[in-house]
């Protein structure tokens, strides 16, 4: 018993140094030396390429806000932008029922956690369908459902296509040119078959901004 305790204490200290700190520090060293951009969060001047943003409030003179850009998953849109629903719940210590406080509030990642037969989910989805219909968009499933993190930076090419009428109307750019833009920005599946093809919304909008001059 005493031997076991003594051995355990020595082992705990040695393993904590080696497999906790040395492992992490060596990894951080390699990462910072060879993959600096990725290791620090894939940052651009406008945000992180990997962290989704709320585009729905982008000012678009003469049109509904957010209609002159491509929008991402509705992780912070409509019903889910109302962090007030969870007021009183600090995001700290309530991870289970984490609201979709991803952007704007430091340190949250979350999902709705609403089940497939939830009345609440049904109501929210209807609200989102109405949101898109008001912008002339016939929504795809991704555009009315939230992601696995509340931070999905991507949409599928079909989602982007569905948004083209809205963007075209608000920017005056022809649908054909927007379709070319989406095609240019579409990234294939890794190895040709893993996961789904996707369009990064931040990069798509940066390219759109260039197109508009």
């Amino acid at each position: 018993m005493i031997t076991n305790i003594r051995r355990s204490i020595v082992t705990v200290l040695a393993f904590t140094v080696l497999f906790g700190f040395l492992y992490t520090f060596a990894g951080t060293g390699v990462a910072q030396a060879f993959f600096r951009g990725q290791a620090n969060g894939s940052l651009t001047a406008n945000g992180s390429r990997l962290i989704g943003q709320d585009w729905s409030k982008t000012p678009c003179p003469g049109h509904l806000p957010g209609s002159c850009v491509f929008q991402g998953r509705p992780d912070n849109l409509g019903p889910y932008s109302d962090i007030g629903r969870y007021k009183g719940d600090s995001p700290v210590g309530h991870p289970g029922d984490n609201p979709l406080v991803a952007n704007g509030v430091a340190g949250g990642s979350g999902t709705t956690n609403l089940g497939p037969r939830s009345k609440e989910l049904l109501a929210y989805t209807k609200e989102l369908v109405a949101y898109w219909k008001a912008r002339g968009v016939s929504p795809t499933p991704d555009l009315v459902t939230t992601s696995a993190s509340g931070l999905d930076p991507d949409i599928t090419p079909q989602d982007a296509d569905a948004e083209i009428p809205m963007v075209s109307r608000a920017t005056g750019i022809s649908p054909a040119r927007l379709r070319d833009l989406v095609n240019q920005q579409t990234q294939g599946r890794p190895l040709g078959f893993l996961g789904s093809p996707f369009v990064n919304v931040l990069q798509l909008n940066e390219a759109l901004a260039k197109l508009r001059g």
Binding site: Q38, N46, G93, N113, S118, V129, L151, F198
Partner: protein
């Protein structure tokens, strides 16, 4: 078609791991791999032990328990005082008592259930010095125990089953550390964050959004969390977070890391007992169960979400609620089954938002005791317990004392296997019943109706099986759920681990009976079928009533919303 090729690639790469990692692990634990001997030897001297000084099963078990206990205490203290420790750029205070207990029990038992939000609760010090360390160490403990039980089958008239300290050290140095480090480089290259700098604030001039983006050393934590079938991520949403799982390629590598050791251990087992055929028999049983569950779960998730359908949106891409667009529906389902049939429990999509039968897949996978292929080490020793029950039943049918690998399976062995097989279901069902009968328990679920019950049942099933996957709508961070969950995890780990070691010890002491014509074969299709039957019948009969109140009712209530 993409999904088909994903499966093909998974089979090919896991096949290679099975053959080569499997034989490498056998060599490591036989002491034939020595390139880090210069590091090993002084460490054993410091501990006052050596590879030749072996332990009886009682001493092996005592070392396991004391070692885990010391780690538990130290981790508890470090997380309580993290506010006064360095590497805390976000200035988090100490973790509260009950949450701390739940978290450390969770990591020491290889569960990694998260009642905390990584980026909102844990300092970098806690993530590195407590959680990452445990992801290495609890995995090594599981593998060491599986190897010790294997020695029970391979040795004759032996009073000992190995040296715990040597087994965990070798496992860590030769197996876990090198693979995790190489995988970490792949993850960061693909976009995972790996920095000790704090969050970054950025203003986007295009849309007027100001963001505060949490970062941290997630890129190297992910690989060991997966390789050791731990599953507790750096961030709250685990591998759904683009900073930890940035592409479909990293998603695939994470799946491979999780499944590689548990499957490969069947080869290691076969090699060590001198009959690879026996390892293959266990592998086939695992693969058949695994494949069935992947099939129906992926099919269920390829259907539209009922709420989305009722809102008038048609889907050709399945249930997208709670899934990242760059993974897609079937890949997310495959990932989820991979994590719940092992003891990993990581998620890249929201299990709570799965269709009813889609959610039944992960839940029932855990209920089968996580043997297909199960957690690192725990999968092998648990399926061996079921194999013992299977030969016992086979023996009853033909009226002969059954043998497995020439070892007579007698009353003591069957009692130990029976005990281990009953511990998990009893714990899970009793705690679920307690939770649904008390106000504190009923306050937990986010969803109404049968789905709310599923959330509670899922929580105790996951913790009792040391999985860590969650239907995360449950508000688990209450004193009630923290304490009950912590107890659930400790019983689920040691209540099976200790009988397994006792079984190994009892078998090691026996001599081998030569096989004769009347011997019940334990390496053919009949035995595989019998083992699968035992696993499915024990799991099915025990949990069917509970499951029918959750996902099955939910599936049958067409057109109704709660």
């Amino acid at each position: 078609m993409g999904f088909f090729w994903t499966i093909v690639l998974l089979i090919v790469t896991l096949g290679l791991a099975w053959r080569f990692l499997g034989s490498y692990m056998a060599a490591v634990f036989d002491g034939r791999v020595t390139f880090l001997g210069w590091l090993e030897r002084p460490f054993y001297r410091l501990l006052g032990t050596s590879p030749d000084r072996e332990q009886s099963w009682q001493r092996y078990a005592a070392s396991t328990v004391v070692f885990s206990g010391v780690f538990l205490l130290m981790g508890y203290v470090l997380m309580r005082i993290q506010g006064s420790l360095p590497l805390n750029p976000q200035h988090f205070g100490g973790v509260t008592q009950s949450l701390d207990f739940n978290t450390i029990a969770s990591f020491v038992t290889n569960t990694n259930w998260q009642n905390y939000g990584g980026e909102t609760t844990m300092s970098y010090f806690s993530q590195i010095g407590v959680l990452t360390v445990q992801q290495f160490v609890s995995a090594a403990v599981g593998i060491a125990v599986a190897i010790a039980v294997t020695r029970g089958f391979s040795r004759r008239k032996s009073p000992t089953i190995g040296n715990f300290w040597v087994d965990i050290t070798r496992c860590l140095l030769y197996i876990l550390l090198p693979i995790a480090f190489v995988a970490g480089i792949i993850m960061v290259g693909q976009g995972a964050v790996q920095t000790l700098a704090g969050p970054v604030s950025i203003h986007d001039a295009m849309n007027g959004v100001s963001q505060t983006i949490p970062r941290g050393p997630a890129g190297f934590m992910g690989p060991i969390m997966q390789l050791g079938t731990n599953g507790g991520g750096f961030f709250n949403v685990d591998l759904g977070h683009p900073f930890e799982n940035p592409t479909a390629l990293t998603n695939f590598v994470y799946m491979w890391l999780t499944l590689s050791i548990p499957f490969a251990l069947t080869y290691t087992f076969g090699k060590m007992v001198g009959s690879v055929r026996h390892g293959v028999a266990l592998l086939v049983a695992m693969v058949l169960i695994f494949g069935t569950w992947v099939g129906f779960t992926a099919y269920a998730e390829h259907q539209n979400n009922p709420a989305v359908a009722a809102a008038g949106v048609h889907s050709t891409v399945g249930n997208t609620e709670g899934k990242n667009s760059y993974f897609g529906d079937t890949t997310s389902a495959l990932f989820n089954v991979s994590m719940t049939q092992t003891s990993d429990g990581a998620v890249d999509s929201s299990t709570d938002s799965y269709n009813p039968i889609g959610g039944f897949g992960p839940l029932s996978g855990m209920m089968l005791g996580e043997v297909s292929p199960g957690g690192v080490g725990s999968g092998l020793y648990t399926i061996l317990l079921y194999a013992v029950i299977a030969v016992f039943i086979g023996g009853l049918m033909i009226g002969r004392t059954p043998e497995y690998l020439g070892k007579k399976i007698q009353a003591r062995e069957v009692k130990l296997a029976g005990l281990a097989a009953l511990v998990m279901p009893i714990t899970v069902l009793v705690l679920t019943a307690v939770a649904v009968s008390l106000h504190a328990g009923r306050a937990g679920p986010l969803n109404a109706g049968p789905h709310g019950f599923s959330e509670i049942l899922y929580a105790f099933t996951s913790q009792g099986n040391n999985n860590g996957s969650a239907m995360a709508g449950l508000s688990g961070n209450t004193t009630f759920y923290n304490v009950l969950g912590g107890i659930d995890m400790l019983i689920g780990r040691f209540g099976i681990l200790i009988p397994a070691l006792a079984l190994g010890g009892a078998l090691a002491a026996k001599n081998v009976v030569p096989a004769s014509l009347g011997t019940f074969r334990t390496d053919n299709g009949m035995f595989i079928g019998l083992t699968i039957g035992v696993i499915v019948i024990i799991g099915g009969l025990t949990f069917f009533p509970a499951v029918s109140l959750g996902p099955i009712v939910e599936q049958l209530s067409h057109g109704k919303f709660f």
